[in-house]
Symmetry: C2
Subunit: 237 residues, 2 copies
DNA sequence: TAGTGGTCTAGACCACGGT
DNA sequence: CCGTGGTCTAGACCACTAG
């Protein structure tokens, strides 16, 4: 929080959230902001690029930084948001059941997915998410023991992400996700209240740390009527 | 294509695609690249940030720019990719049927979605996408007449995006998307080969131009067994 | 300790939009 | 024309990693 451009970014976000500027108007020019914040224009530009990436403004050459209607971009789910954050946002009654929490040697399929060698061991976690009393989501996680040596049922019931980021202080950096619809498996029938649905929405994620190591593969299986995914895609040319 | 950092970016992408570097290795340092490309370090950094945003490298402080296994990130569908680009990538036989192409005054629902006033008129386009002889996708587009005054059946059969970007020279900049699963409608039954499926995957998109104006709402309805969505989410802190 | 990427600066020139 | 954002430079200092 001590980088100058981050401070300026947070400053501007707060101003925007408090409605100090109106959607459609422009922010003060980069030169003026540079004067006001007593910094160089390039630093202001870094802050503005952050605002742009997060959907607060759109920069228009010759005109200025146009303020967007940010309420259109407040998502229930997005990007790397974990399940725990999601459930808090929706204000629903949520419970997590852990069916399985074991450490095993990776089989062929898992080794190729996690890109690891033969002798590596992997945490295998299987959890059901209850939302308002119905078992809606089945999460199957596979995590490299090298990165997370210790896991308990209590951690799995709370939030594995929270444990990894705050207790282990590892830096989760990016993820590749794939979303498809598949027929239900026996496992789905066992652990989910399918309510007659013959298909589930499957999100497969590969999660990486800041040092570019792949450490987790997750399969999140959702009952289709309760599934929602929101995405904000900015064109990078 | 004349910006120095874009040229350098494309240069490096090509080198990476041709396997001149191995996943897990690092690129030459920023200082060395600055010498090699005869430019300043900040310009090299812009090119490297582009590589990072697009999943080619991960920068690690004190270590270097680590090369990622980019084959994991070759998407069939992603971000703002249009249907036309998609079909070219997959090398499938694709045909587009236009059922409807009319200009009408926006009703209440449409006005709130496109954020426009009562008297505005909107292009309404309904198209089916045939993939290998099966009608898999139903696309319903709504485009503001203000932005796109003229549309023909031939344009709709080819690519509306292509027309907007290349003929009208408008700059499509970002989109907000939502993905859900819904029961099939009578319209779906009429225009799609549902093959027994009772549900479709629906992608709703709000598309914006570079000057931050919302100009299009699209509903893309996919047969679930043929649906895939891929996402590369980088954490921005 | 040497080398890496991360931040910041003060200045320059350019392309574009509106006046 | 002036003001806007977009690009580029040459240099500085810092934080981190590895040998």
């Amino acid at each position: 929080m001590k980088n100058k451009f981050i401070v300026i970014y947070n400053d501007l976000v707060q101003a925007l959230r408090q409605g100090e500027y109106t959607a459609g108007d422009t922010l003060p020019s980069e030169n003026e902001l540079a004067l006001r914040f007593e910094t160089s224009r390039e630093t202001i530009r870094k802050a503005l690029n952050l605002l742009s990436q997060n959907g607060y403004i759109q920069k228009v050459r010759g005109k200025g930084s146009v303020i967007l209607d940010h309420s259109k971009f407040e998502f229930p789910v997005s990007g790397l948001t974990s399940f725990k954050e999601l459930s808090n946002q929706l204000g629903q009654t949520v419970k997590t059941h852990v069916h399985e929490l074991i450490l095993e040697t990776a089989n062929n399929q898992l080794r190729s997915m996690l890109n690891c060698s033969k002798d590596k061991r992997v945490w295998k976690i299987s959890r059901t998410r209850d939302i308002d009393g119905e078992r809606i989501i089945l999460d199957k996680d596979y995590i490299l023991e090298d990165i997370v040596p210790e896991l308990t049922k209590s951690i799995a019931e709370h939030s594995i992400y929270d444990y990894i980021e705050n207790k282990l202080e590892l830096d989760i950096s990016f993820a590749k996700k794939e979303i498809v619809v598949e027929g239900v498996t026996e496992e789905d029938k066992l652990h989910l209240d399918l309510d007659g649905h013959a298909q589930v929405v499957v999100i497969r994620s590969y999660v990486y740390l800041a040092d570019a190591t792949l450490f987790q593969y997750t399969e999140s299986r959702h009952r289709p009527d309760k599934f929602q995914f929101v995405d904000f895609a900015r064109r990078t040319k």
